[in-house]
Amino acid sequence: MEFYHFTEFPWPYLPPDDEFTSMRVNLPSSVFDPKKGSDLYHSYLDQHVLADELGLNCMINEHHQTATCINSAAPLSVAIAARETKNARICILGNPAANLRDPIRCAEEMAMIDNISHGRLECGFVRGVPYELFGSNCNPTETSSRLWESVQLMQKAWATHDGPFNYEGRWIHKRQVNVWPRIYQDPHPPIWMTGGSDVNHATRAVESGFTFTMFLTPADGMRKMFDGVRENLKKKGLPKPADDLFSFMPLLAVGDTEEEALKFVQEVFWYVTNNKAEPQFRAPPGYVETPLYANFLSGRFSGGRTDAIRTKGMEYFRENGVAVYGTPDSVAKQLKSLYKKVGGFGHLIAMMHSGDMPFKHTAKSMKLFAEEVVPQLKDLGTVSSSLGPLKDRGTPVKASKFNGRTEALASARENWLKQQTKKAKAA
């Protein structure tokens, strides 16, 4: 299993709760003080360096027009991490491919980052949370289709090395596509996708050989989704996907004692308690499947995962695997149990910072996690034996066979290259 540290780059200095209606979309930027903000950026970027020093990977995301996340252009902080870290895999999760008007620009950015990091990029693409549709003005009814078209075009652009090609698709038209630099990892970095309620989307992601990830989802929901994907793939006659095609992010805190871990996780919990948004921002028409949207309109569903779970206590979060916290042994035990409960996953993204949690608390939690929890779990699960879509990925092999993700990918790449040579010869 692979482990990633995550902070969402929060802006923690909020006005009194009754003075604003939403963290998202319409909170004026007068709330942001650049003098404090510039210090915060450095503190957050330092967390990536620390993660690298501790042998952890980094996950970096982006959001727009919100105090929950001031990392509004993730490729910039990913590029900084690419330069400042040595060994960490850097996972951008992700590029809002559905809302980007120019996916080729994104393909170029990722190609540069992959080169600067010597091939340590894990490249995620997201449809974006519903709030993003307002600032991007992307039509919510088009986002799924745009996401897939953009990603497939970027895959083609990365894998093409014999000069320009033209493209006139459903949403995107491009002439003379010829991405420079050539991307470092052949044929392209591992691709990730996120998802919430749509099992067909998740199935398509894994079938494409992408790592499918869920955030802060109660274990039952995650089990249902992962099982649904595995079942769909089986029905299609596809091989069993390795664990490295599944990922999960809980809130996570490790302390010397239960009390200390509880204190830390409560600081991370800021993200959940402060993530308020006006209801209409959560459900623009066409963003979720029609029956779910119908339930939202008729009041049968409140429209917020965080709303439903916000009101319940921390113990509820722990029981459901949404928050994982405790002493190192307890955290390792909880994660093993979660792994079993959901039928396996290969990447754990640990949200170990949020709000105004002091750096030293996060650093302590990260250190205990890296030094005392990770060694108990790193050999857990399976990895793909080749690259490409699921049908070409071969039989999953034990993660314990390799010393981490980079090594496992190198082996998979070797097998993939052999396959390519064989295919070329046959042709």
């Binding site: 009814t141 088009e142 006006e278 623009p284 028409p285 119908a294 008729s298 009041g299």
Partner: protein, 266 residues
């Protein structure tokens, strides 16, 4: 919501499979043809006024694809695209000297149709139509129904929100599904550019038939000054306001609205 009352009115219905899109069409009464183009909120599909008009006219009510009967094809992304399906329908039904009545987005559709070909049309009545951009880049001509809270949007549409016949919490699962589908269709057609076609206003001069604009004096979604400016873009228009009503004067103030429309159509 819509289907219940419409079924009570005697009429016939048929789905026309047209090259652009399938259109489900209801017809009521007999007489000169009257094409009835419903709004994005489709209150007009069961408006009692249809029955009154059916005493005198053959009222033809196509349901926009994606509003409960037929699907909006993936190839149709604008009201401009959609207008060709209606032009095909008018040809197929051999409509002549047609009276066209369009509400809000249906008014926009009416202008998309008539600006291409108004040879089958004798007059038009447009009720708070959208479809053009009047102000500058920083002006919001049409209030943002996606950005504002539901109650605020309702107050744009109805001077008295109690008059809104749509109560989502009272909908059955099937009705809620149809509402969701309709809102998705509206978003497909009108999210961006927002409820207008940037090129339509440069074609409006082609509409040579007499056109009535009816506007709610309290319309908060599209203010009367937008309506007046809109009407000026067309050669033969008259403008009437319905006092005390907002974006759906035919729902909110039928007693004032109905005679204004009926007199014009005569």
């Amino acid at each position: 919501m819509a289907s219940k009352t419409v079924r009570a009115i005697r009429g016939s219905s048929r789905t026309y499979n047209l090259p652009i899109a399938d259109l489900y069409v209801q017809q009521f009464g007999s007489g000169a043809p009257l094409l009835w183009l419903h709004s994005e909120d489709y209150y007009e599909l069961d408006l009692p006024l249809i029955q009154k008009l059916a005493q005198k006219y053959k009222v033809i009510v196509p349901w926009m694809p994606g509003y409960g009967k037929t699907d909006l094809p993936d190839t149709v992304r604008t009201v401009d695209d959609l207008s060709y399906a209606y032009l095909d329908l008018m040809q197929k039904l051999k409509l002549e000297k047609t009276r066209v009545v369009g509400f809000s987005m249906g008014g926009w559709l009416a202008n998309e149709i008539a600006s291409k070909d108004c040879s089958r049309i004798t007059k038009m009545s447009l009720v708070c139509p959208v479809g053009v951009k009047i102000g500058g880049a920083y002006d919001r001509d049409i209030e943002d129904i996606y950005y504002h809270p539901t109650a605020t949007v309702q107050s744009f549409k109805f001077s008295n929100p109690q008059k809104d016949p749509m109560v989502p919490k009272e909908l059955s699962e099937e009705e809620a599904f149809n509402l969701a589908r309709a809102k998705e269709t509206t978003a497909k057609l009108a999210w961006d550019p927002y409820f207008h076609n940037p090129t339509l206003k440069y074609r409006l001069h082609r509409i040579s038939v007499k056109t009535q604009f009816i506007w709610g004096s309290k319309d908060g979604l599209t203010q009367p000054k937008y309506g007046r400016a809109y009407a000026k873009l067309m050669p033969k228009t008259e403008f009437t306001t319905i006092a005390g009503a907002a974006h759906f004067p035919h729902v909110e103030k039928p007693d004032s609205f109905d005679p204004v429309l009926e007199n014009f159509l005569r």
